[in-house]
């Protein structure tokens, strides 16, 4: 579990009496930095962007959580921790959290299972046009979710009539269905689109992982008489595990951040039936809907955002701990 064991002691630290004088450590650090100067130079622009557009806003908006502020001028109306109290007491926020978790819990396992199966198929060197299929599956990923959502919305509204006609003729429904306007169906449609739209990412990750498994291992298994299923469960799965853990974590984080699909497809409606946390925050920060131009409250949105950020960090840490515990237990079992 290399990816999760970043805190593992280095060989130098493991040596008894390995403490070095501070100056030698400093010189060593400087030497290491100098040796990695080109790598550092190349990651510098990304780090600068990350610091400016991710790290700074996170801490910058922390101040706003203490104010009632419409985002124009300077915040002056200090409300202390009242924004956090409001968020915690808002049933719509908790409903949005519920929808977000439902989305993630359904999307991630289904999507990963499909992505793994497809990756196994596409990894077959004998498969013709495999590059074409890879491109085909990856295409939705590079298409803007907003564009995807607009097209899906148009399809459902235009073809919806036809679809309803077929379903009515087949006596599967009694009344026509309002595909995105029915609270019992709308979230399901968003989940389906979500599975399809980001499938390509996980497919590529799994393909990359599969290609790191040495061919000789498979050959050895074949010589030993292992069948396909046995090879899959005893070679592919264990060797794919480090990459797989990262894919699971990233897939959950991505799903928890779902926004554009929901915003364009349903705007979180009808009556918050598809509201996820990010659309909830967006509506607080930038006003309500078209019919009711409400005063935005950036302070409240910042509080919701910060609180949700903490929830996600907690969830990610929990995931890592669970995986680590599982792997430790397995390692102990093997020993």
């Amino acid at each position: 579990m290399q990816l999760l064991d970043t805190a593992a002691p280095s060989p130098a630290q493991r040596r008894p009496g390995a403490a070095r004088p501070a100056t030698r450590q400093k010189a060593g650090l400087w030497r290491r930095l100098w040796a990695a100067r080109w790598s550092l130079l190349y990651i510098a622009p990304l780090m600068a962007l990350l610091l400016t557009f991710v790290v700074y806003p996170i801490f910058g908006s922390l101040v706003y959580t203490l104010y009632r502020w419409n985002g124009i001028g300077s915040p002056e109306d200090f409300v202390g921790l009242d924004n956090f109290r409001q968020i915690l007491q808002d049933s719509i926020f908790w409903r949005a959290v519920g929808h977000t978790f439902t989305y993630a819990i359904i999307v991630v396992p289904i999507q990963l299972a499909i992505a793994l199966v497809l990756a196994l198929v596409l990894n077959n060197k004998k498969l013709r046009f495999s590059s074409f299929y890879r491109t085909l599956y990856f295409l939705p990923v590079v298409t803007s979710p907003a564009v995807v959502a607009v097209v899906i919305q148009l399809m459902l509204s235009n073809f919806g009539d036809t679809l309803n006609g077929w379903l009515l003729d087949a006596h599967l429904i009694d009344t026509p269905v309002d595909w995105l306007g029915d609270p019992d169906i709308a979230l399901g449609i968003i989940i389906l689109v979500g599975i399809w739209q980001t499938l390509g990412y996980n497919l590529v990750y799994f393909l990359a992982g599969l290609q790191t498994i040495p061919e000789e291992v498979y050959e050895a298994a074949k010589i030993d008489g292992a069948g396909r299923l046995r090879t899959f469960f005893h070679i592919t799965v264990p060797l794919l595990r480090p990459v797989g853990v990262m894919i699971v974590i990233l897939a959950f984080i991505g799903s928890f951040q779902v926004f554009d699909l929901v915003q364009v497809l349903t705007g979180g409606g009808p009556f918050f039936a598809t509201e996820v946390v990010n659309t909830y925050i967006y509506h607080l920060a930038f006003g309500g809907n078209q019919a009711q131009a409400t005063e935005p409250n950036v302070g409240l949105a910042s509080a919701a955002s910060f609180f949700y950020g903490l929830m996600l960090i907690g969830f990610s840490v929990l995931q890592v701990l669970i995986f680590r515990s599982i792997f430790k237990r397995r390692a102990a079992g093997r020993a």
Binding site: I72, Q153, G181, G269, E295
Partner: protein, 488 residues
């Protein structure tokens, strides 16, 4: 071909980057003022899209008349406009001429030094071109100084549009074969039933596009006003007769919503109405998927672009044939202002004066954009469209109503916090069956809205504002007559 080494790659990267930077800088230089010597360029910001042909024509006419002034127009996204204009003022890049953003409050924009005091140009003589009672503190003036001027006038902002083809197919016609326009709630129900039945499921009686919770509130607005609820869907203020929102106490709201749900249960409403947006609904109406839709005069612009004119309109359908309340508007108007920081304020004023001329107003009406602030422009305009003429004729149903901020300017210090769920949400909840008790949902909303007003007043009072809840009460207001708000 020699392999690319690190030094070579860096050199190539630097060359490409340098070239890109040079191009970018050249681009910046090219986008700066390129007007001929002696010509002043005025920057102008607005969010007009469907009104663009009219505005572009005005710019052309103005520049022809004033060859030494050029207008550099920038169209901004309407819902981001307040943020963009705020950033522009903060960054010292505010346009010379601007559309006044809906937020922050007009008084705050003046207080922050965004808007230029126009008193030196907008003299009493200049203001004399407008009807009496067009300039008010809190509307286009602040602390007795003029900062903007009326541009538009009001007619009912919502109409019930009917599809002539479907009405005729369903036999809803007068003796002369013309379409029989529904006047009452019962007429609408009967027409919806006839269209749904006679078209054999090909079309529905009614339809809307509520994907972003935009248009269901319009139905409430249009139908309850006719029933005698002057606050409509309550977006512009409470019922000023009592100074409160009365969604629960006034039975018209529940009665209309029960009727709407009955229409839905009977299958008169286009089934995908909650999935589609208003633009799609407009297109579906045009293609005869349903016979009636509620919308504003902006619908007409879209339909005339598509050469669709097989429709008619009416407004304020009521339980009885005579509407008991109308649409209302505050006296005066404001759309445009000149930036306090404009370095070409005289030229900006010339442009401002042009837009606020009766001639420009007449062209606005003739372009089918709405009504002008100048009664002569509305009267003299040569209107080609039958439907736009019908819209202009409905202006008798728009009256001036009480404005608390005119009677007590301190009212503008009250901030009424948004409530959630608000009316558009509650309507979606009721329509989709997530809320089942109409009366309870409306009463709950009424309570939350009134509480927000009371809290806003209390908050303002604690900060020294001389306001009370009585500032929203106008016991002498008769919703069937024009109201003149007098300053205390």
């Amino acid at each position: 071909m020699s392999p690319l080494n690190r030094r070579g790659f860096l050199a190539a990267s630097a060359a490409v980057g340098g070239a890109a930077l040079t191009n970018a800088l050249a681009g910046c230089a090219a986008s700066s003022d390129t007007a001929a010597p002696g010509t002043t360029t005025i920057s102008h910001w607005d969010w007009y899209v469907s009104q663009e042909p009219w505005l572009e024509n005005e710019i052309q006419l103005f520049e022809k008349q004033n060859p030494k002034i050029k207008i550099k127009r920038t169209v901004q996204v309407s819902d981001k406009y307040p943020d963009l204009i705020n950033l522009a003022f903060r960054g010292g890049e505010a346009p010379d001429m601007l559309m006044i953003p809906p937020s922050p409050k007009f008084e705050d924009q003046v207080g922050m030094g965004w808007l230029r005091d126009l008193d030196s140009h907008a003299t009493a003589q200049w203001r004399g071109r407008y009807p009496e009672g067009s300039f008010f503190n809190g509307v286009n003036m602040a602390q007795g100084k003029v900062y903007s001027a009326p541009f538009r006038s009001s007619a009912p902002w919502l109409q019930l549009y009917v599809h002539n083809g479907l009405f005729k197919e369903a036999g809803i016609t007068n003796k002369d074969g013309s379409v029989k326009l529904p006047k009452t709630w019962d007429d609408v129900t009967a027409a919806a039933a006839a269209i749904t039945k006679k078209t054999g499921g090909r079309a529905f009686g009614l339809g809307f596009g509520n994907a972003q919770s935009a248009s269901l509130p319009w139905w409430v607005e249009l139908f309850v006003r006719g029933a005698g609820s002057p606050a409509g869907y309550g977006v512009d203020g409470p019922d000023y007769r009592v100074g409160k929102w009365t969604f629960g106490a006034d039975r018209n709201y529940a009665d209309f919503l029960e009727l709407l749900l009955e229409w839905k249960d009977k299958g008169y409403i286009y089934p995908s109405s909650m999935s589609i947006g208003d633009e799609q609904a407009r297109a579906f109406f045009e293609h005869g998927k349903f016979g009636m839709i509620v919308g504003g005069v902006w619908n007409q612009t879209t339909w005339s672009e598509h050469n669709f004119d097989d429709y008619s309109l009416t407004t304020l359908p009521s339980p009885s044939t005579k509407p008991k309340a109308f649409f209302y508007y505050p006296p005066g108007d404001r759309v445009w202002a000149i930036s306090q920081h404009s370095k070409a304020s005289d030229e900006a004023w010339a442009w401002f004066d042009w837009l606020h001329s009766p001639a420009a107003g007449q062209r606005w009406v003739e372009a089918g954009q709405g009504l002008s602030a100048f009664p002569t422009a509305n009267k003299d305009a040569k209107i080609k469209s039958r439907q736009f003429k019908a819209y202009v004729d409905t202006r008798k149903y728009a009256l001036p109503w009480p404005v608390p901020a005119i009677r007590n300017p301190e009212v503008s210090k009250v901030v009424i916090a948004a409530v959630k769920p608000d009316l558009p949400d509650v309507l979606a909840g009721l329509y989709t069956g997530q809320l089942t008790d109409v009366k309870a949902a409306l009463t709950d909303l009424e309570g939350r809205r009134n509480e927000a007003l009371a809290n806003g007043v209390k908050d303002a009072q604690s900060k020294g504002a001389k306001v009370s809840l009585d500032d929203w009460v106008f016991t002498d207001w008769d919703p069937t007559k024009p109201y003149e708000t007098k300053p205390v």
